[in-house]
């Protein structure tokens, strides 16, 4: 149980490190797949 928890903690720390590192490589605005181009607030215009 201790070994598994240790591995989980290490994996979690690695994920967190990777996520922080990757966030520096991201874009300046998000992209949302399959959600059209413009949502005015009913379906987005495509």
């Amino acid at each position: 149980d201790i070994e598994e928890k240790k591995e989980d903690a290490e994996a979690s720390a690695t994920d967190e490190f990777e996520r922080k590192a990757l966030s520096r490589l991201g874009g300046s605005i998000c992209f949302v797949s399959k959600k059209g181009f413009l949502w005015t607030g009913g379906a987005a215009q495509s």
Binding site: R19, K20, A21, L22, S23, R24, L25, G26, G27, S28, I29, C30, F31, V32, S33, K35, G36, F37, L38, W39, T40, G41, A44, Q45, S46
Partner: protein, 330 residues
């Protein structure tokens, strides 16, 4: 899968991590001062006909002298420029109908000129970037020139400002007499009950625009989805670097070096441009931008003409033509 593409496949979430928190904080700062929605731009007479030209700031803009050729040939349609291409446009006598800005980070104000800049910035971003080479040669002189250009033409410019934009950028635009038209970035799936985009729209009433990862793609979306243009040309949209570019002169070099150490070179992805026969390369971010653009182009209700004459953006969704072909027949 090669390393660069593996990293690119994770940049959707990484981008949210990078900009959502600061973008939403900026939106809260701007909210009391927002007067006009980007949807109002569709009612203004911004050029004739149903064609638009998006001016991005990739290296081909200078390599191909696209702006000089645009100024010489003329274009009756709508011109939409990204913020980093604004100064190059004005230097060449091209006054865009709309300038688009999205980035939440303060350094972006340099594209509009920083009147108070007294010493070169400690960050070498503007000396290293490929978007406007004049900043690399003499940062201070380049900034003074941009300040003068933007002060001169500001009252003629409209800015399509994302609510994520840095407050320093918005202040500079206002001081230069530009008119601001606002929109929200689409941060996530607005159909989810816990959607950040839905909550933001509820707070400020502004439409959410799917930005595609970068200001160039956001400008293309604005041209067809907001302005209703049916034929959209693009220049300066390379999403990559010319064959002779040193890795040290690429936009994400410090980040890749920190992340991968001596292996940083493995993160670059190489493409052969089928029209030019040149081998260009991208970093993971530009590789992701390219994939996203091609996905979006498949869904768009417009024809897209890539007149960049360089770069890595090609595929069945996009027609590749020369700038003159688009200007004359687009």
């Amino acid at each position: 899968m090669e390393l660069g593409r593996r990293i690119a496949s994770r940049l959707h979430d990484a981008t949210f991590d990078r900009i959502a928190q600061v973008g939403l904080a900026n939106a809260a700062t701007h909210r009391p001062h927002i007067r006009r929605s980007v949807l109002e731009l569709a009612k203004l007479p911004l050029g004739a006909g149903d064609a638009a030209l998006v001016v991005a700031a990739g290296p081909s803009l200078h390599r191909r002298r696209s702006l000089e050729r645009l100024a010489a040939r003329g274009f009756p349609g709508t011109i939409v420029a990204v913020d980093s291409a604004l100064a190059a446009c004005l230097r060449n006598g091209v006054v865009p109908h709309v300038v688009v800005t999205v980035d939440p980070h303060d350094r972006i104000v340099r594209w509009f000129g920083e009147p108070a800049l007294a010493v070169p910035s400690a960050d070498d971003y503007f000396r290293r970037q490929e978007m406007d080479p004049v900043h690399a040669a003499d940062e201070m002189a380049a900034n003074r020139a941009v300040v003068a250009l933007v002060d001169r033409d500001g009252p003629r410019l409209r800015v399509a400002a994302a609510t994520s934009a840095a407050p320093s950028v918005v202040s500079r635009c206002r001081a230069a007499g530009m008119e601001l038209f606002w929109w929200n970035p689409m941060y996530d799936d607005y159909e989810r009950p816990d959607s950040v985009s839905r909550e933001l729209h509820r707070e400020n009433g502004l439409p959410c625009l799917n930005g595609g990862g970068n200001v160039g793609t956001a400008s293309w979306v604005l041209a067809h989805a907001v302005l209703g243009k049916r034929r959209v040309g693009i220049i300066g949209m390379d999403f990559g670097y010319p064959p002779d570019t040193p890795y040290e002169k690429t936009q994400y070099y410090p980040e890749l070096r920190d992340m991968l150490g001596e292996r940083f070179g493995e993160a670059f992805v190489h493409f052969e441009n089928p029209v030019l026969g040149e081998k260009w390369f991208t970093d993971p971010a530009y590789c992701w931008f390219r994939d996203v653009f091609l996905e979006m182009a498949r869904e768009a209700r417009c024809e897209t003409f890539n007149c960049t004459e360089g770069g890595v953006l090609f595929g069945p969704e996009i027609k590749t033509v020369t700038l003159e072909e688009f200007l004359d027949h687009g």
